[in-house]
Symmetry: C2
Subunit: 138 residues, 2 copies
DNA sequence: GAATTATATTCGCATTGACGCATGCATTGT
DNA sequence: ACAATGCATGCGTCAATGCGAATATAATTC
């Protein structure tokens, strides 16, 4: 309920004005990600992650999908072309950031060798991950 | 390299997360604008305008130049290509907004017929304004 | 139905932000 | 020096935000 509040420009930029939320967006990128990956990769308390995801959701930047016990979050493009372009531009920009690159590397590693991440045993893989991308990890 | 410690991603987006600040940025656009125009066109208290300008300055989004009693503010492009593109994209997006269009129209009007804006008597015109753009005003 | 797992929400607290009001500071003009 | 002008800043107040800790909710498993 109350999931489709009208898109608000201020709220949109405010949602981008926090490093934790930017890291979450960077991890989502093009694909849907399970919450358990966020908490594991950012190494931060689950309630904190959950609140930031709720913030992003209230800003209309992400959407959630439930799959059994797991919640998958994905980026949704805003209902304005201008905002969409800014969001895409931001995601592209984030990829140049060291922290963001490290996060992405950890995500790949977690998906390829989940056995090393105790908390992720049995967690659903992002849909777009396939073993062929797991070149150097063991 | 090019690590400019003064520029902060979070701060950058936070600066964009306020309607008053977006209106100020929209008014500046490509040109330098005197503070007295902001207060007149937005019809809001001068300390409020000044505070928001200070916020934008602290975020590295605008710069100020003193000219006698007047302060001129202008947009400065961030030291990152990504941020620059986002800022330009944002400015372009704002132009589609009704409020922003009205503000711009009022700015043009104020520059062309300052006599109608008591507070702007003698105020310096934006550098890029010339009388040829004042077609229908008297 | 009870326990477990994955995620969301509530609470208390500290910090920040936005605002109005009054005042301070810098520059110009007399 | 004094007053006037244009702008910035300090103060008090209130709302919003971020956080950790605890608790609640939803889906699954026993």
């Amino acid at each position: 309920m109350a999931r489709n509040a009208s898109f608000n420009i201020e709220r949109f930029f405010q949602a981008l004005g926090d490093m934790t939320r930017l890291r979450l967006l960077n991890l989502m990128g093009e694909q849907e990600i399970c919450v358990c990956y966020f908490t594991e990769i950012l190494a931060q308390p689950q309630p904190k992650i959950s609140r930031h995801l709720a913030y992003l959701r209230s800003a209309g930047v992400v959407a959630a999908r439930r799959e059994g016990r797991w919640m998958h979050y994905r980026i949704v493009m805003p209902p304005h072309v201008g905002a969409t372009q800014i969001l895409l531009q931001t995601l592209a920009w984030l990829k140049e950031d060291r922290v963001m690159q490290t996060d992405r590397a950890r995500l790949t590693k977690a998906c390829c060798s989940p056995a090393k991440f105790v908390a992720l045993q049995g967690a659903p893989l992002p849909a777009s991950i396939d073993p062929s991308t797991c070149s150097t990890s063991r």
